[in-house]
C-alpha cells in the first residue's frame, strides 16, 4: 500500500459518502426543486470523487497503468459537463408543467418575471396598433 493507493481509496470513500448524502437528500427534501438541488450536486461530486479516485487507485497497484486514469478523467469530465445540463432541463420542465414550489418558499422571482413580461406584451399590443393608425 503506497501513497497513490491511499489517496485513491480516500477519494472513493469521499465519493461514496456524497452518493449517500445525495440519496438521503432525495428522501429528506420536501419538493422537486429541493430534491434536484441536493441530489444533482452531491451525485456529481460523488461521481467525480469515485472516478478520479479509481484512476489514482489503479496507478498505485502493480497491474494498473495510466490508461485507467485517462479513461476515468475523460468520463468524469463528460459527467461534469452533462449532469448539470440534464438537471437544468428537468427542473425547467417541472416548472413549466406547473409543479408547485414547497409551501415554505417565500420568493418566486421567475414567476414575477414571466408575469411582468406577459403584462408588458398586453400593454404593448394596443399601443402598436395605435401607432400604425
Amino acid at each position: 500500500m503506497n501513497a497513490l493507493t491511499a489517496i485513491g481509496e480516500a477519494l472513493v470513500l469521499i465519493g461514496t459518502f456524497f452518493y449517500f448524502l445525495s440519496a438521503l437528500g432525495l428522501i429528506r427534501m420536501p419538493d422537486v426543486y429541493n430534491r434536484m438541488q441536493t441530489s444533482t450536486k452531491s451525485a456529481t461530486l460523488g461521481s467525480l470523487g469515485v472516478m478520479v479516485g479509481v484512476g489514482i487507485w489503479a496507478l498505485g497497484t502493480d497491474f494498473g497503468s495510466a490508461a485507467w486514469l485517462t479513461k476515468t478523467v475523460v468520463i468524469a469530465i463528460f459527467l461534469l459537463l452533462t449532469n448539470p445540463i440534464s438537471a437544468h432541463a428537468l427542473i425547467r420542465a417541472a416548472y413549466k408543467r406547473g409543479i408547485p414550489l414547497w409551501e415554505g418558499s417565500v420568493v418566486d422571482k421567475y414567476r414575477e418575471h414571466i408575469e411582468a413580461k406577459e403584462r408588458e406584451e398586453v400593454e404593448e399590443t394596443p399601443a402598436e396598433e395605435g401607432g400604425e393608425e
Binding site: F78, L81, T82, H88, R92, K96
Partner: protein, 235 residues
C-alpha cells in the same frame, strides 16, 4: 381483481416452470463446447481480440446481416406507417439557452465517441450497433434541443442504402475469393495486420464491416427519430 389474481398465479406458475427447467443447468461450471473452440482459435483465425465481435461478424456473419436487415425493415416500416403528404416538425418551445449551448458543445463529442466505438469493435467492447446507436443519440439531442432541426435527408438516405450494399458487397467479394459468403479475405488471404494483433490495424474485415454497420445503424435510427417526431400539417 379476479383478472389480476389469475394473471399473478399464471405468471408464478410459468416462473416456477422455467426455474425447474433451469435447475438442471449447471451454473458457473465449465460446460463450453463450441465456445471453447472460439476462445482457443479466435486470434489466429480472425485477428480480433474481442471474441464477441469476432463471433458476430466472422463466425456467424449471417446473423448480423439478418439483424441489419431487420433494422432496415423497421426503419422502412416506420417510414411507411407514418407516411403522409406534408409533414413538418411542429415543436413550439425552443430549449433553454443552457440546453442549446450544451447540445452544441456535446454533439461533436458524442459523435466522435460513437465513431470510436465502431472503429474499435475488434479491440474493445461494443461494435457497430452500439456505435451507431450513440451517433443516433447525437441526432436525437439535436432534435430535442432545437425546434427547427432536421437531418440532411438526401445524404442520410443515400448513405443508408450505400452502406447496406457495401456490406453485401464485402460478403460477395469473399464469395468470389474464398468460396463462401462473408469469407474474411482480408485476414485469410492477405494476412493484413498479422504482426499487430491487438492494435488498430488488425482484425481482418471486422473494422470495415463495423464501420459499415455503425453508419447504417446511425442513419437508420436517426431516420426513425425523424419520422416519429414529425406531424401532419394542414395546408
Amino acid at each position: 381483481m379476479l383478472k389480476r389474481a389469475l394473471a399473478i398465479i399464471s405468471l408464478l406458475l410459468i416462473g416456477y416452470w422455467i426455474a425447474q427447467g433451469l435447475a438442471g443447468v449447471p451454473f458457473g461450471q465449465d460446460r463450453m463446447l463450441v465456445a471453447q473452440y472460439y476462445l482457443d482459435h479466435v486470434k489466429e483465425q480472425t485477428g480480433a481480440v474481442n471474441a464477441v465481435t469476432a463471433i458476430v461478424v466472422n463466425y456467424r456473419g449471417f446473423d448480423t446481416l439478418g439483424e441489419v436487415t431487420v433494422l432496415f425493415i423497421a426503419s422502412t416500416g416506420v417510414g411507411a406507417l407514418l407516411w403522409r403528404r406534408k409533414k413538418q416538425r411542429t415543436a413550439k418551445t425552443e430549449g433553454s439557452i443552457v440546453l442549446t449551448t450544451g447540445t452544441r458543445l456535446l454533439v461533436p463529442f458524442v459523435m466522435l465517441f460513437g465513431a470510436y466505438i465502431f472503429i474499435h469493435g475488434h479491440l474493445t467492447p461494443g461494435g457497430g450497433f452500439p456505435g451507431g446507436a450513440t451517433i443516433a443519440t447525437a441526432f436525437l439531442l439535436l432534435y430535442m434541443a432545437f425546434t427547427a432541426y432536421e437531418i440532411p435527408h438526401k445524404a442520410f438516405e443515400k448513405t443508408e442504402g450505400a452502406v447496406g450494399m457495401a456490406y453485401v458487397l464485402v460478403g460477395l467479394i469473399g464469395l468470389v475469393i474464398g468460396g463462401y459468403f462473408l469469407y474474411d479475405w482480408i485476414w485469410q488471404d492477405w494476412g493484413f495486420g498479422v504482426d499487430n494483433i491487438g492494435r488498430l490495424l488488425s482484425g481482418g474485415f471486422i473494422p470495415i464491416i463495423y464501420t459499415i454497420i455503425g453508419l447504417k445503424v446511425g442513419t437508420e435510427l436517426s431516420g426513425i427519430i425523424d419520422n416519429m417526431l414529425k406531424e401532419e400539417v394542414s395546408e
